[in-house]
């Protein structure tokens, strides 16, 4: 039995055993359900093997929402633990694990798949393409991400969660101070998901550069596509840094090198530097697509074209460049000396300028517009003031000398939640509501959606605004408890109350999905928001081939011009369409990656070697495989398009 001891949890608690049982029961229920309803074949042929960007997008979306709730439960546990002084709900070790997984899950396994969900769903449609450049790689990206997420998520029931913070600074994360396999999970699960993200980055750059509809020059692309392009450029340049950082961390932990250790020449600060050389661009990877979504939503619901298109493009390009020049502001207090601190202080404050330009452009887009406060618009308008508070406190933190006061306090926690929640979560909820009818053919209920918005927006502020004060008073982050004498109690209780409000908001969003699925009208046409970009020129739900005829574009808002000025979008005859075949290989290969990762986490070398060979066997199989795809015939397309075109014309 000694062999199996390694899989036991080092710090068990009743909550973890309960989760184990819950996970087991859920899995049994899924298997029984699929068998009972005879859905295995459907699941395999329509979802697990699909290479369709829209379905991959939906799978990303489901995973992101699942992870949002996992990370959200972690957050509630933290707020509950710190709600009153000297609380015993969680012990220190458990609290460490919870804040570590909260950070990793929310950033890597919630925000990243959420932005890739929307990119997958929207970008090919916005540029008038049939699919992404490499559909099968796209499936591989998703499944690698998914298996990475699953590997990370089993850590708390098998072997123990990582507990060194989402930044996993060495030497704390080294073998000496983190003896459980938790940090191995961190290193390897993120590595697998990161490879998937890198592949997506390459895929979307190729798609956007090579597959735009005729006439859509770079400066005529919709703003969301622009942000997707720049985001993926950051991905391609930042993620290899993460790959190496994690590889070196793995070498230290599994193979005994001394790269980040305290002895034999190792340098622990190197981890912090490498991590943030990836980590800071990662912040902009998350926020730029959000800016794209806001640009689309604000312009649609103000009924005006986007103000300052060129300056918008220029500012995202400048942001992407500068995102690589500010990483050191994450550790001003860790001894680099005044020269480096001054330089990075200046670059940090300078990056607020292009972001400010964007804020003013959105405000000026709304000026004199006929603003319609739909749910996506509420999130976008709510974003502007809240994000500005995040930005202003960011400039405060960016002043190196003042940072000695703020560093590692709750002030910082409040700051980055004030940027990342309006900057990412609000945008994702706005994008989700905005593009929901395009994905599923019905709209989410506006009334429930507005209730959810107010719960989320108010709950958010009540949760995080008090932290600015407790932080300035000296409450350190990542401390599992505090004494009553500190006086932090009441404000922390207020935070907890806010967190409950946030939880109610998210529960309302789930209820909205359920309610709208049952009751919403299916007769909404293909352009329910009266929007401006090409994705709304397709059928709803979108056919597998997207566009029967490739659209011809000659302005930034070709679809709007088509609707208002009657400029024809689709010319010429329908031709047969070449489509890629489905393939099970991405899924199978990612499953092997999962076993590979699991073997490495527990240093089980024989299965690790076998799975490595199996991964390369999959690559070899792909190399020799002959797959020319298939054609959708003209008759088939005409049959599906006929009814729709009549309807579409009536609606206009």
């Amino acid at each position: 039995m000694d062999y199996f001891d390694r899989f036991a949890i080092p710090h068990p608690s009743p909550a973890i055993y309960a989760s184990m049982v819950a996970i087991g029961l859920t899995m049994i229920a899924i298997v029984i359900g699929l068998t009972y309803f005879k859905k295995w074949g459907y699941l395999w042929s329509e979802w697990l093997t699909t290479v369709d960007h829209k379905r991959i997008g939906i799978m990303y979306l489901i995973s992101a929402l699942l992870m949002l709730f996992r990370g959200g439960v972690d957050a509630l546990m933290m707020r509950a633990q710190t709600a009153v002084p000297d609380n015993k709900l969680l012990d220190a070790q458990h609290y460490n694990e919870v804040f570590t997984t909260h950070g990793v899950v929310m950033i890597i396994f919630m925000a990243m798949p959420f932005i890739y969900a929307l990119m997958n769903l929207v970008v090919p449609l916005q540029i008038g393409a049939r699919d992404v450049a490499f559909p099968r790689l796209n499936a591989l990206s998703f499944w690698l991400f998914f298996m990475g997420a699953m590997l990370f998520n089993i850590s708390f029931v098998i072997g123990g969660s990582p507990d060194a913070g989402w930044t996993s600074y060495f030497p704390l994360a080294g073998n000496d101070f983190s003896q459980s396999v938790g940090t191995n999970y961190y290193l390897i699960a993120i590595q697998i998901a990161g490879i998937g993200t890198l592949i997506s980055g390459i895929n979307f750059i190729a798609t956007i550069f090579k597959m735009r509809a005729p006439g859509m020059k770079l400066m005529k692309m919709p703003m969301f596509t622009w942000t997707a392009l720049i985001t993926n450029a950051i991905v391609v340049f930042a993620f290899p840094v993460l790959t190496i950082t994690l590889l070196l961390g793995t070498m230290d932990r599994l193979f005994g090198t001394h790269i980040f250790s305290m002895t034999n020449g190792g340098m622990d600060m190197l981890w912090a530097n490498l991590f943030w050389v990836w980590g800071h661009p990662e912040v902009y990877i998350l926020v730029l697509p959000a800016f794209g979504i806001y640009s689309e939503v604000i312009s649609t619901f103000s009924r005006r074209n986007l103000y300052g298109y060129k300056s918008m493009v220029a500012s995202i390009v400048i942001i992407s460049f500068m995102s690589f020049l500010v990483w050191m502001h994450h550790f001003f207090t860790m001894g680099q000396g005044p020269l480096s601190n001054s330089i990075f202080s200046i670059t940090t404050m300078a990056i607020a300028i292009p972001t400010g330009i964007k804020i003013f452009n959105w405000l000026l887009t709304m000026r004199k517009g006929k603003i319609e406060f739909t749910v996506p618009m509420l999130y976008s308008v709510g974003f502007i003031p809240i994000f500005t508070i995040g930005g202003v406190t960011g400039v405060m933190l960016g002043m190196a000398s003042a940072d000695y006061q703020y560093h590692n306090t709750m002030f910082l926690v409040a700051h980055f939640h004030y940027t990342i929640i309006p900057g990412v979560v609000f945008a994702m909820l706005a994008g989700l509501t905005y593009w929901w009818p395009k994905m599923f053919g019905f709209m989410l209920n506006e009334r429930i959606g507005k209730w959810a918005f107010w719960f989320v927006a108010i709950g958010f502020n009540v949760t995080f605004f008090p932290m600015f004060f407790t932080g300035l008073d000296g409450q350190a982050r990542r401390m599992y408890t505090y004494s009553e004498a500190t006086g932090f109690g009441p404000l922390n209780m207020l935070s907890f109350a806010g967190a409950i409000g946030l939880a109610i908001g998210f529960a309302l969003i789930v209820y909205n999905v359920y309610y709208s699925t049952r009751h919403a009208s299916r007769d909404i046409g293909s352009d329910p928001w009266n929007a401006r970009t090409l994705e709304w020129a397709t059928q709803t739900p979108v056919q597998s081939y997207n566009f029967a005829r490739t659209p011809q574009v000659d302005s930034i808002e070709a679809f709007w011009d088509y609707k208002k000025n009657g400029k024809p979008l689709f010319k010429g005859e329908i031709e047969k369409i070449h489509m890629p075949n489905n393939s099970g290989m991405p899924f199978i290969m990612s499953c092997i990656f999962f076993v590979w990762g699991f073997s490495l986490v527990f240093s089980m070398w024989i299965p690790a070697i076998i799975t490595t060979i199996a991964i390369f066997a999959c690559l070899a199989h792909r190399s020799f495989e002959k797959d020319d795809g298939h054609y959708v015939s003209v008759e088939e397309i005409e049959a599906t398009e006929k009814d729709w075109e009549v309807l579409a014309d009536e609606n206009r």
Binding site: F134, G201, I202, V236, F237, V241, H258, I259, G266, M267
Partner: protein, 198 residues
């Protein structure tokens, strides 16, 4: 499938153009990958702890052999792609085979070099310097190893299926990869070995 005959075979279809473009982006990512390794190497270069320094363990002979062999292999694959462009299938296969053989020699010498380091007390776990040195060399070596298998598969496919837009595309992309490994080696040779020996 539409084939544009005014372009070389490997660029002949839309998918082919996209594959090559995508691969260039991948090479961009690889540049960042190796750049990170080099940056880490330069940071840790003199942090040898109680282990040996670079000047004590580097030997010119095996490194020179590796360099000459790898540069020649890159030249050979260039000839191979030229042969492919003028439609000489057998010549192309011959040049690609020579490329891979030279790659194999390179790998053999590198394995010898690694065992040698282990014998003279410069193994992976000795110091920060040896750790990052062997990781950097190992990452390049792993790329070469993958390249050997990949190249072999492409030779087999060209042999069986002839020069089609698909096989030509794969062969051309493989040549980009191989040239890139050569470029990385030039940096390793100059900034790890030569700099370390000075």
């Amino acid at each position: 499938m539409k084939i544009d005959n005014s372009l070389p075979l490997e660029y002949g279809t839309e998918q082919n153009k996209m594959n090559i473009f995508g691969f260039w982006i991948f090479i961009g990512a690889e540049v960042m990958l190796f750049a990170t390794l080099f940056a880490t190497y330069f940071t840790l270069e003199h942090r040898t702890g109680s282990g040996p320094a670079g000047s004590e363990i580097f030997e010119l002979t095996p490194v020179l052999i590796e360099t000459i062999v790898l540069l020649t292999s890159s030249f050979m694959i260039g000839l191979g792609v030229h042969a492919m462009r003028i439609g000489r299938k057998n010549a192309m296969i011959t040049f690609f085979s020579i490329t891979l053989l030279l790659g194999l020699v390179f790998l053999g010498v590198e394995i010898y070099e690694f065992t040698h380091y282990a014998h003279i007390g410069a193994g992976l776990q000795v110091s920060a310097f040896t750790g990052i040195l062997l990781t950097t060399l190992g990452t390049h070596g792993a790329h070469v190893t993958i390249g050997l298998f990949w190249g072999l598969f492409i030779i087999l496919q060209v042999k069986k299926r002839g020069l089609t837009p698909q096989t030509a595309n794969k062969a051309f992309i493989f040549s980009l990869y191989w040239h890139f490994l050569d470029v990385v080696w030039i940096f390793i040779f100059s900034f790890i070995y030569l700099k370390g020996m000075m």
